[in-house]
């Protein structure tokens, strides 16, 4: 069946992390031999050492190559190999039974589009045809939720034009040479053109070290800091008066709210000197152009909705929306049918949408809030649904796992998880496990056996980016189209996520909604507005960016109910929330739990919970490390490389310590997503309960952001307990590294 490709070089969009660099794949004898930097000088720096490790990942001996069916107890990691056809047949039959018994909403799906890349929103299409609104994704904690909240204020999620900017503001975001590499390169380009960089981060991060200004705010206080900036910008009249007068709504109410946050109060909340706050606000507002690029830090706080809205408001008030060097409101790519359309969101009935888990309490990124924008999105962007970064019509993960565990408000009994180690990717890992143990059917589609896949009934091997064709539009966040060419054939038993949904839909009787037999046919269909086929596009070019149009709002208005930038949000008001932004304190530290813990931190060698089994990457980062300030470490009698337990009222993480001057005193940084593939068969679910940060943060309602239901990952109380000995069962590499 598998045809061997000849020796060649092709262009591939790397999906090892979420940033999507285009690289060159070299193949030899039908195998990926190397992934190397681009030959275009403008793109050649956009590569990190994870990207060049692609051959080690794609050719890894542990890659799943055959569909597996569980034979032991759930989670026992015992399997029989079956054919792909048998797997699809049985999954369809068992899903049909669950739906017959509990209704279509009893299916929940969790994905990471960053990893799976070519679903073409067929997961949503399948769910909408079946009748389930319960789609969750890691993007609910990272970028997707930011997209949804940005839309509340001005109808779209802008992409920062960093390279052309004169002032770049990084709220805790720390792009480095080997993490978010293209963003790192854009910041360097801006700096070379004279841009100022302001970093707001408790740590002396890599970016803070070279910043023009660094504000070491207390973790989790982004909203308060932004309110302080607005206080200066409004009261010193540093805002763009024409823009505010013509294009915004609610300025007077905003001013009143901002005046509740005088600098002395903001200084007290954030721990940053009032004069420094004022000076940085002036630098930002006074720049010829300025941007606040998306940041994973503001995404994950108890006032996340307010803080994300405050970024939006700052962009608008300073006149930086849709200008060169500011924040670009791109819209849909005119040459390519977006995933927003392919998802068929119109098809899901209102009755089923109303059942979306979490939408009653935390609606910001659910259908309930986002559909209030539909007619305005259509007016400005030509289509009702703008599912930017796949993040705008999601169920709430905590509510979904709670329903899986408790069957309240209704049972969720089938869970499909694609390219996503769900067990460790959301808060409250213990509840996720409980929920998964209470399922009638779990299907995992993965490239490696993960702790989540170990809990499945069926594990289907996935393909990787060098094994499929694709054209990336960055999920409508940016405007360009980037080619990704199939370089080699996937393993015989592997399927793409597109094939999986296509085949299952055909088996379940709604195949007419999935008429495209191959990914190439989907790509041809998506390219119809351009008048080109995929083959024609890929023969001509490896990337195409439509020339930018600026200040489009002058003609169209904004895609909000008022057609203006809603400083006071009519949507939040209609949903019963405070329509103006505010700061809310996270849980306080105490004598028992004296440190502010921040989790969800990305390390250079890995993306999320991935790649721990890839030797060339693991050698660079053999073990999980907590970071502490030297004075905190001294108080606890801890030195570098000591083993400790970090405990919170919810759970504990075992890891080594690195003592770092760069840490803010009283803060502890925890890396994200640690498990031990080498412990498979020895420790429960391959050690996924030893060092995973997902056990630490509570997700009880009082710890969640009101509007989105986001947990407070950035600054919750914890304590450190030094261990007399290293934990049992660790490999030599972990102990030594």
């Amino acid at each position: 069946m598998a045809k061997q490709s000849a020796n060649k070089q092709t262009y591939s969009v790397c999906t090892i992390c979420d940033i999507g660099c285009q690289l060159r794949a070299e193949t030899k004898d039908g195998k990926l031999s190397r992934m190397i930097a681009h030959d275009n000088p403008a793109l050649a720096r956009n590569v990190c050492y994870k990207g060049t490790a692609a051959a080690h990942i794609h050719n890894h001996a542990d890659r799943l190559t055959k569909p597996l069916k569980r034979v032991g107890e759930r989670g026992a990691d015992q399997w029989e190999e079956i054919s792909y056809e048998q797997a699809i047949e049985e999954i369809a039959e068992r899903l049909g039974k669950v739906v017959d018994k509990y209704g279509p909403e009893s299916l929940a799906v969790s994905t990471s589009g960053w990893n799976t890349q070519t679903t073409h929103s067929m997961d949503r299409r399948f769910m909408n045809a079946l009748g389930s609104p319960n789609y969750i994704s890691g993007v609910s904690l990272c970028a997707g939720n930011t997209a949804a909240v940005n839309k509340l204020t001005y109808g779209w999620f802008p992409f920062a034009d960093i390279s052309n900017s004169k002032c770049v503001v990084l709220f805790g975001h720390n792009p480095r040479k080997h993490s978010w590499t293209p963003i790192y390169n854009m910041i360097n380009a801006a700096r070379a053109n004279g841009a100022k960089v302001i970093v707001l981060d408790p740590r002396v991060s890599d970016q803070a070290e070279v910043a023009d200004m660094h504000l070491r705010l207390r973790s989790g206080t982004d909203a308060a800091m932004c309110l302080g900036w607005l206080n200066v910008i409004i009261n010193e009249a540093l805002y763009d008066k024409d823009f505010v007068a013509q294009y915004t709504l609610g300025f007077d109410e905003l001013r009143e709210r901002v005046n509740e946050y005088p600098l002395e109060r903001v200084a007290e909340i954030t721990g940053v000197d009032a004069e420094l706050i004022a000076e940085s606000a002036r630098l930002y507002a006074g720049a010829e152009s300025a941007c606040i690029p998306w940041t994973p830090i503001t995404d994950m706080q108890i006032s996340s909705t307010s803080a994300i809205r405050l970024h939006s408001i700052l962009r608008a008030l300073t006149g930086n929306l849709d200008i060169p060097g500011g924040e670009l409101l791109g819209g849909f790519n005119p040459d390519y049918i977006p995933e927003s359309k392919l998802g068929n969101h119109e098809m899901l009935s209102q009755e089923q949408k109303n059942k979306q888990l979490g939408s009653d309490t935390h609606p910001a990124y659910t259908y309930r809030a986002q559909e209030m924008l539909s007619e305005h999105t259509k007016r400005v962007y030509g289509y009702e649904y703008a599912d930017i970064v796949m993040g705008c019509y999601m169920a709430n993960p905590s509510a979904t796992f709670r329903a899986m565990a408790t069957e309240k408000p209704y049972p969720v009994k089938a869970f499909f998880v694609l390219g996503n180690n769900a067990l460790m990717s959301y808060p409250n890992q213990h509840q996720i496990l409980k929920g998964m143990m209470n399922q009638d059917l779990i299907v995992a589609h993965e490239i490696f056996m993960t702790p989540t896949a170990m809990l499945a009934d069926y594990v289907l091997p996935g393909d990787v980016f060098s094994e499929r064709n694709h054209l990336s539009d960055s999920w409508s966040w940016r405007l360009g189209l980037t080619l990704s060419q199939k370089a080699v054939e996937p393993p015989e038993g592997a399927s793409s996520t597109y094939e999986f949904w296509h085949d299952l839909a055909h088996k379940m009787g709604f195949g007419e909604l999935f008429p495209w037999g191959t990914i190439e046919e989907v790509l041809d269909y998506r390219l119809t507005p351009s008048g080109k086929s995929f083959a024609e596009f890929s023969a001509e070019t490896y990337m195409h960016v439509p020339p930018p149009e600026y200040r489009k709002y002058r003609k169209t208005g904004f895609a909000t109910p008022s057609g203006k930038v809603e400083l006071k949000s009519s949507l939040l008001e209609a949903l019963g929330f405070d329509p103006l932004p505010y700061h809310r304190e996270g849980p306080a530290v105490s004598d028992d739990y004296p440190y502010y813990v921040f989790t969800g931190v990305r390390e250079d060698a890995f993306f999320q919970t991935g790649q721990r089994q890839v030797k060339v990457l693991r050698d660079r980062m053999p073990s999980p490390k907590l970071f502490m300030h030297p004075e905190d470490a001294a108080k606890q009698n801890i030195v570098d490389h000591d083993w400790v337990k970090l405990q919170t009222p919810t759970g504990e993480v075992t890891a080594k310590v690195l003592v770092k001057e760069s840490m803010k005193q009283g803060h502890i940084r925890v890396p994200h997503g640690w498990w031990y593939p080498e412990m498979r068969g020895q420790a429960k679910l391959a050690g996924s309960f030893i060092s995973s940060d997902a056990v630490l943060c509570p997700d009880d309602p009082e710890f969640l952001d009101y509007e989105q239901g986001i947990p407070h990952f950035k600054g919750f109380p914890g304590r450190i307990v030094k261990l007399a000995e290293p934990p049992a069962g660790m490999s030599e590499q972990v102990l030594a590294g």
Partner: protein
């Protein structure tokens, strides 16, 4: 910002995008090659980076 300055700034960016699109061509003609040459001059050579290697 004056309208002229705005117009110049916007068009400079559009021009840069047209230029970049030319450098992305797989079968470049003379103008495309000139665009790539210009880009190379503007950006400079990107040296090999040993940090990207994975010696085993």
């Amino acid at each position: 910002m004056s309208l002229l300055k705005e117009w110049l700034g916007d068009n400079q960016q559009r021009l840069m995008t047209h230029l970049a699109n030319r450098t992305f061509k797989k079968n470049p003609n003379l103008i495309d090659r000139a665009a790539t040459g210009l880009l190379k001059k503007m950006i400079g050579e990107v040296p090999d980076d040993p940090e990207l290697d994975h010696p085993e």
